[in-house]
Symmetry: C2
Amino acid sequence: MASRAGVSVATASKALNDTGRMTEDTRQRVKAAATELGFRPNAMARGLIQKRSFTIGLLTNDTYGRFTLPVMAGISEALVDQGVSVFLCGIEDDPALGRVHLDAMLDKQVDGIIASGKRIDRRLPVDLSNLPVPVVYAFTEGHEGSVTLVSDDFQGSAEAVEHLIALGCKRIVHVTGPETFASVKERTKAYRAGIGGDGVVLYGAWSEHWGHEAVAQLWQQGETPDAIFCGNDQIARGVVDALRERGVKVPADVSVVGFDNWEIVAGQTRPPLTSVDMNLKALGREAGRLVLELAEGKPVEPGVRKLPCQLVIRESCGGNAAVTESRGGVVAAVD
Amino acid sequence: MASRAGVSVATASKALNDTGRMTEDTRQRVKAAATELGFRPNAMARGLIQKRSFTIGLLTNDTYGRFTLPVMAGISEALVDQGVSVFLCGIEDDPALGRVHLDAMLDKQVDGIIASGKRIDRRLPVDLSNLPVPVVYAFTEGHEGSVTLVSDDFQGSAEAVEHLIALGCKRIVHVTGPETFASVKERTKAYRAGIGGDGVVLYGAWSEHWGHEAVAQLWQQGETPDAIFCGNDQIARGVVDALRERGVKVPADVSVVGFDNWEIVAGQTRPPLTSVDMNLKALGREAGRLVLELAEGKPVEPGVRKLPCQLVIRESCGGNAAVTESRGGVVAAVD
DNA sequence: GTGAAAGCGCTAACAA
DNA sequence: TTGTTAGCGCTTTCAC
C-alpha cells in the first residue's frame, strides 16, 4: 500500500499513526491512499512489536449470563473505542476447561483478563494470581492483593428499605436467599440497620417457589407485614403472585421490593416490581477501564471497590405515580 | 527456550508441533524443556506466518443474550479444543457500532465470523458479504449465497401439536406472537397442518400479558379449548397463570405447550411448561464447526440449514408422568 | 522530512 | 537428523 502514495513503508507507518515528522502534505497523501485502498494494518504484526494485542479476556462461570452479560456489555462499551476486543470464555465450574481457556488467551497475548462470576463470595475454579497479565475481578472473589469490583449490597438494600419507610411502611419483613451467601448477609444487615431492629428475616432458595412459600408462612403465623423486601426478583415475583392469590393487594395492602432488577422478571410481574439495580453495566465499564490502565502500566490501587446500586421504581410500592414514572424512566436512560 | 534443550529454534519448533523429522529422543527432550519452562508459543508470531489467528468473531444484536448465549456456548464448545477463541461483539442495532466491531475483528485477522441475532428473518445492521473471511449465519438472516443455520420451527411445532393430539386433545388453539415474524408464520403453518384445518390462531405480543389477554378472549367467546399451543414460553406462562386465576386446571382441563424452553420461564411456571427447545447450543456447535471448515478452505454447501427442535416434556400437558420425567431428564442430559 | 535496515517470535524451505 | 536462512507485516531507531 505504501508505494501507492509513493513513500516508503516506514513513512506510511508514521503517517498513519500520527507519529514521526513529515510534511502535512505527505501525511495526508498517505492517509488518502490508505482509505482509498481500504488499507487496515495487521494487528498481529503490530502487536508482535508493541507487545500489545488490544485484546482482553473475560472469564466467567456464569453460563446463564444473567450477571455476566451486563458486565460484558459494559466492558465492551468501555473498550471498543480503544480498539480493544473481548474474548468471552465460559468455563462453567470446570477447572480443566478454565485452564484451557486461560492458556488459549495467554497464548494470544491478551493485554489483561477480567474474571466474572455469579456470586461475589466464590472464586472461579482457576488460579489467576501470578499471571503475566493484569487481572481485574468483577462480581467474583479475587485473590490476595487483587483489584476487585462488586456492587454495594448494603447501600442498595438500605435504599430499598428507606424507600419503604418513607412510604409509611411500618412492618417490613425480609424474604431472601440462602444464609450462606455473602450478599444475603450484607442485605440482611442493611435491612436490620434500616428498620432499627432484628425484624423478620426468612431465608430460603433464590426461587419464585420460595417467595410463595414464605408468604404462606407469614400469613399462617398471622404476622402480616405491610411491606416485603425480597433478596431477588424471582423471590419477589413469587411473593407478589402469592399475595394476589390470597386477595392481598400490591401495593395497596403490601409493598414489595425486589433485587437485581432483572427486566424479564421485574418488568413482567403484576404489578411491575420496584427493584434494586446493581448497575452491572457500569461495573463492567469500570472493570474495562481498570484492566486497560493496568495493561498500560498505570498504577491502580488494589482492594475491593463497592459500586453503588440504584433503586428502580416501578409500581409494586405505590407512592407518587408521577415520580414513579419519571424516576423509572431516568434510570432506564442512564444505563 | 530452545537453547535449554540444546537445539536450534527451528528444531524446537518442529518438535513442539510434531512436524519435521528428528529422533524421538530429541523431540521428547525439547518437549520436556518446554513444559519445564512453562514455554508457550506466541500465537501472534505464529499467526503472522500461518495467516491464521485461531480466533473467530461472534457478532450479535441480541444484547439480552437469550438466543445468543446458548449459541455462543455451542460455538465455544466446538472450537475450544482446536485452540480457537471467540470475540463476542454486541452491536445492538447500531450500524456504526457494528462497523467498529467488525473492523476491529478484521484487523485482528479473525479466521471467520459468525453472525447471530434475535430473529431469523432480520439482518444485522452491517453488511457481511464480500468479507475477506468466511461468514456463517446462526439464527439471523444471511446474505445471498451464504451459509445459514436456523432451527426447524415447522418440525418443532409439529411435534408439539402431535404430542397434544396423542394426548387426546381435540380442540387445540394457537396463541402466538406478531404475524410479521417468519417464525410465527412457520409455527402457525405447522399447527394447521397438525390439526388438519384452520384452527384458531391468536396473534399478539411476545409477552405474558398477551397470554393473559388471549385466555380472556377465548373464554369470553365461549370457545374453550382443551389445549393451547403457545408461540413462546412467556405467552405460555401468561396463559397458564390466567387459567389458574379462572380456576381452570392445567393440565387436567387444558394442556399448554410453550416454545423456546427458556428455563427461567418454563421451569418456574406452575406447573412447569412442556416446551419446544430450539437446540441453540447444538446450532452454535454446528456454526462453529462450519466456520472452521470454511476457514480451512474446505468446501461447504451454501444455503439455509434447518436444525431440528426437540420437545421437552414437563408437567403442563399431563400424560404419563414416568415418561415425562425420564424424557425430560434425558433431554436435559443431552444438551 | 524521508527511507533503509533491523527485528518482534515464530515457521518453512532448504542446506548441511 | 539437525541447523541456517528467509520472511510473515509491521514499527522503530538511525542515517541520509
